[in-house]
Amino acid sequence: MATVDKEVETDEFLLDEKTLREIETMKGAGQWSIVWRRIKKDKMGMLGLYIVLFLIMMALVSWILLMVDNWLTNANLLLGDPNNPASLNNLYIELWYPGMDQSNPIVLFQHPRYQFADQSTLPPSWEHPFGTDRLGQDMLSRVFFGASVSLALGFIGQMTTVIIGTVLGSIAGFYGGIIDNVLQRVVEILYSMPSFILMIFIIVLFEDVQIPGGKYAVVIVFFSLIGWGGTALIIRSNFFSLKEQDFVEAERALGASDMRIIFRHILPNSLAPLIIIITLGIAGVIFTFAALAFFGFGDPNAISWGDDLNKWQNNLLDYPWMPMFPALFIFFTVLGFNLLGDALRDALDPRLKD
């Protein structure tokens, strides 16, 4: 009889204790605060969130520092010649504020492109916590400043893919008919190609294209052109099920236009799968770009984890720290986004939880 005592009879349903507790925590909360409460309970998810936040902070700080340093150097605020690579202001990342001695700014880091032949292949030490590479560059500095390019590639690549996929998937799902048929056939063809192989094929063909942003801009454009299929299919099926719902019918009966129904009603309701696709997808995109760079299809002049990994991959047996640190950071990034994505999926759609 003990279990029956805990059940409370409402108007229609018998609710057990667990559901009651769930209702208690959700009372008076909006959808997003419910999701946030669920994520907070998920230890692995929180770990993923911390990793992702740490990496985003690292990428932002490194990007800002590099910008400030470039500006200081080019504005001639520091002593030294901006065009001479061996000049002191080109060797370090400095901070300087007006009123400070121009010849003696605060030195923060080695510049990631700082090369000293006599400091090459040093193992990790106090001075170089991640060691130095064959060119005498500090690996800590390379990894720190590589974060901005690596993460930016992941974000931009995934966002463009998702935007294209959402637009095409919405059109196909809402209007159906021949558009939908064409879209499905195209996705079928795109899905039959292993995307990694297709990407390499495209990069080789379009090696000579010159557009602002360098080689990675070309890679991102084609990546988003061929990668939208998965998102489009999910959004399409979401649209199919939502457009038959009563609230859409009601809105249509009130005379709402297609645009209003799509943007005010169906798309906001498709937000949950979109967020999951984006978070889990970023992990995949970062992995794909790292793999492309690893096999020599990246931009050798860029400072990114994948390109460093490509340069030093054959030194794994003799100087393990050179490829190990960029690889570790790629690993942690992918891990963080995977953990966060899993937690978000459980929180946004508890029916899918184990």
Binding site: M44, M193, P194, F201, E207, F295, P323, L339
Partner: protein
């Protein structure tokens, strides 16, 4: 419809998809900037402009860009030519892989290398499927035990590890333990392969890497599928009528869980093929993946076209096989 009719329909269905894929590859080569003839001539040496011009014309005619009267051939005629050649298994000659100054026919290159890729992939696919099943069953039946927790965390770590890096780490580990890096040397491929012990020795590490790569992906899937099924009513019924655990899991739960697992594995095959390209290239395994990557690094257009036709074809065949296995797994499916 009978099973045979279904299979015939599915085989015919491959044709339009392959046409779409070749058309896409063909269009990509056509719209790419730069002249493929100049790329081709980058591998030849010429001193005088006359020699260069005649070489240019000769190559352009050979590649089918110009006809014998020096007129440009329209792209759709070239595409029809290309498909026609493909149907006769004529994939052209490689630019980079040459023998006595003449390119080796690509169909010969591919048929030589195909064996290695298929051996590696089938072996590691079978291993990872078996191991993933074992791990999934252990995790799902002992949910939240120490076994389940440690296996789940290990799978999560493996899932986030880039496969090419996993292969490198396996190489490092094997080097420090056995002083053997696993990078393939010539004597591994003396025929007959079946009787060559070196072949098996060099097969171990790539298989291990590729197995781990597929395993981490599949084990998560098996676990979550089984967990969902173990909560169903018919499992409770089976337990209630006194069946032992083994019978419940393998006879009732596992068979029902197979169908979604087979679907997802079938859809993930392009990913597994990409993985095989990575692992082959790290260990220098002379399969199709290495052939493709070498061709790409040296801009060997005909070779890339050929591998880009072969890979999707392999994938479509594998997916056809998974679709046919449905029928045997699930007796409810009728065609």
């Amino acid at each position: 419809m009978s099973l045979r009719g279904y299979i015939v329909k599915r085989v015919i269905y491959i044709v339009p998809v392959m046409l779409g894929i070749t058309l896409m590859n063909f269009t990509l080569i056509n719209i790419s900037p730069g002249d493929p003839v100049i790329v081709r001539l980058g591998l030849l040496k010429c001193e005088t402009p006359e020699c260069y011009n005649s070489a240019y014309n000769r190559e352009a005619i050979e590649m089918g860009l110009l006809d014998n009267e020096m007129y440009t051939v329209p792209w759709f005629e070239r595409y029809i030519d290309f498909v026609n050649d493909l149907l006769h298994f004529d994939l052209g000659r490689s630019w980079y892989n040459t023998q006595a100054g003449v390119g080796i026919p690509i169909s010969q290159l591919i048929s030589e290398r195909m064996v290695y890729t298929i051996t590696l992939n089938v072996l590691s696919f079978v291993f990872s499927l078996l191991l993933a099943t074992a791990i999934g069953v252990v995790s799902a039946t002992r949910q939240n035990s120490i076994w389940d927790r440690s296996l789940t965390i290990a799978m999560l770590l493996g899932y986030s590890m880039p496969l090419f890096w996993l292969a490198k780490l396996i190489m490092l580990l094997s080097y420090s333990l056995f002083n053997f890096t696993g990078v393939v040397s010539k004597d591994a491929f003396k025929t007959p392969l079946i009787l060559n012990p070196d072949f098996y020795k060099y097969l171990i590490l790539p298989t291990l890497a590729l197995t781990l790569g597929g395993l981490v992906f599949m084990a998560r899937l098996v676990r979550s599928q089984l967990l969902e099924i173990l909560r169903q009513d018919y499992v409770t019924t089976a337990k209630a009528k006194g069946l032992d655990n083994r019978a419940v899991i393998y006879k009732h739960a596992f068979r029902n869980g197979l169908l979604p697992i087979v679907t997802i594995i079938g859809n993930s095959l392009p990913g597994l093929l990409s993985g095989s390209v990575m692992v082959e290239s790290v260990f220098g395994w002379p399969g199709l993946g290495t052939l493709f990557l070498e061709g790409a690094l040296f801009r060997d257009y005909p070779l890339m076209m050929a591998t880009n036709t072969i890979f999707p074809l392999l994938f479509l065949i594998a997916r056809l096989l998974t679709d046919i296995t449905y029928v045997f797994i699930d007796p409810r499916i009728k065609y």
